[in-house]
């Protein structure tokens, strides 16, 4: 969990605790979220202002939850943030809780994160820290609400939104830990300052967790819209073949595309998004199909086991990808993978099947040549079929 020098803007990890917590009225908070253009840093990238407004209009005292579950295995940014600048997360949470006149303000921490610093900071901000069970989907908003209510940490049917009925039946606002820290800084310095980094469409900075074929894995802070190459530079990639952008639910960019800017617009043609800022570098020593099959198998195992298409389809998809990685001589494998992918998309309570299908689709497309060679029984990395 090391921290390496940020390539561009250094904001979150160097911030000192405030002398006193800033107090914002609801109107001022909504205006700040709107004018700063802040979007969620937990994965979905949804505009924070819209989420705030949805809960503010509820009319009932809400519950505000800071999400530091960090269930994505390659993500370290919330752990680093809560070690280096826990006061910022608490500050953001307290700020939102007060403005919304919340019934309760909770910081939910997953098992991978050392809670000591956060608990110390939380005492100052009068925020409750909940140390929860982990898992890939445990940080999904409705799964988080369920766990806070004492139920199993599995997603709910999205028909009733948690912003209407969440923890304890109250309107519930869940914001990622980094989003809250960003909001705290924006409250200190203003929306115009926030926009000094990043692009017009996508302002501010983000934390990125970099791993894989790099000399120094760790977390960097960079301006939104930075080039992939520049964000990766501090970690020193070693002969990269491709980068999985957005984590296990993300998509690959081949190494020829390192000049791509990490914006929604430039990533969209690849089916990728910044997500929670996870960047996994694939080197030359690992077969891309093998790597993708391992991820797909992990994701199939992490299904909450509630929704039929996910329970049945994800293992089948992972298994077919695994057989392709093993160079099993079955020309029907790509079709089977495609069929399973299309069968699971949009058919679950959460986006787990969709995210898994996205990563698998990207693998089949970006590594098309590699797939063809595998079908012929050969892999340029693993050699001929054993």
């Amino acid at each position: 969990m090391s921290t390496i020098a940020p390539v561009d803007t250094r904001r979150l990890l160097t911030a000192e605790p405030a002398d006193s917590l800033p107090v914002l009225s609801l109107e001022a908070l909504l205006a700040l979220a709107e004018e700063s253009g802040l979007t969620g840093r937990g994965g979905a990238g949804f505009p924070t202002a819209i989420k705030l407004r949805a809960v503010a209009e509820g009319g009932t005292a809400p519950v505000v939850v800071g999400n530091a579950m960090e269930g994505e295995p390659l993500s370290r940014k919330d752990a680093v943030l809560l070690t280096r600048a826990p006061h910022l997360v608490v500050e953001g949470l307290a700020l939102v809780g007060r403005a919304l006149r919340a019934r309760e303000t909770v910081l939910a921490i997953g098992p991978e994160i050392n809670p000591a610093a956060a608990e110390a900071a939380a005492r100052v901000g009068r925020v409750r820290v909940a140390r929860l069970e982990g898992g890939f989907v445990a940080g999904q908003e409705s799964a988080l609400v369920n766990q806070l209510d004492g139920r199993p940490a599995v997603p709910r049917d999205p028909l009733v939104r948690i912003t209407t009925k969440g923890v304890d039946g109250r309107p519930t606002l869940v914001l990622n830990a980094e989003t809250l820290a960003q909001l705290a800084l924006a409250a200190r310095h203003g929306a115009a300052w926030f926009r000094l980094a990043g692009t017009e469409e996508d302002p501010g900075t983000s934390l990125f967790s970099i791993s894989g074929a790099v000399e120094r894995s760790g977390v960097v802070e960079a301006a939104r819209g930075s080039r992939l190459r520049d964000v990766l530079a501090a970690a020193v990639p070693v002969d990269p073949v491709a980068v999985l952008v957005g984590g296990y639910h993300g998509a690959w960019l081949p190494a020829s595309q390192l000049d791509t800017r990490l914006t929604a617009r430039e990533l969209r043609p690849w089916g990728a998004a910044v997500g929670a800022g996870v960047l996994y570098v694939l080197g030359r020593d690992l077969c891309p199909i093998r790597a993708a099959a391992a991820i797909a198998t992990y994701l199939a195992d992490e299904s909450a086991a509630q929704c039929g298409p996910c329970v049945n389809g994800l293992p089948r998809m992972a298994d077919a990808l695994q057989r392709l990685a093993d160079r099993v001589p079955d020309p029907g494998l790509p079709h089977e993978i495609d069929r399973m992918r299309l069968l699971v998309v949009g058919r679950g309570a959460c986006a787990h099947p969709d995210g898994t299908a996205r990563m698998v689709a990207s693998t089949m497309r970006v590594f098309e040549d590699h797939v063809t060679r595998h079908l012929a029984g050969h892999c340029e990395i693993e050699g001929a079929r054993r």
């Binding site: 599995v154 997603p155 709910r156 049917d157 028909l159 509630q306 929704c307 039929g308 298409p309 996910c310 049945n312 069968l343 949009g346 058919r347 679950g348 309570a349």
Partner: protein, 67 residues
């Protein structure tokens, strides 16, 4: 106009819905409903409203609803 919504956390793939409104729902190879319209929650045209309502009432797990 309404839509048919499957609560996937409840659905166990009994398949009654696909039999009662085959115009809107098929069954996948495991027996779980598949939208025939390509929409996540297929829209119910007026002439199928009664059948859709019947399917909603017939789901043994109350996993199907009109929204």
């Amino acid at each position: 106009m309404s839509r048919l919504h499957v609560d996937w956390t409840r659905c166990d793939g009994h398949g009654a819905c696909a039999e009662l409104v085959p115009e809107l729902l098929a069954s996948d190879e495991w027996g779980f409903p598949v939208s025939r319209t390509g929409e996540r929650d297929p829209e119910v045209p007026a002439y199928l409203a009664e059948h859709a309502e019947h399917a909603v009432r017939s789901c043994p797990l109350m996993a199907l609803s009109r929204v």
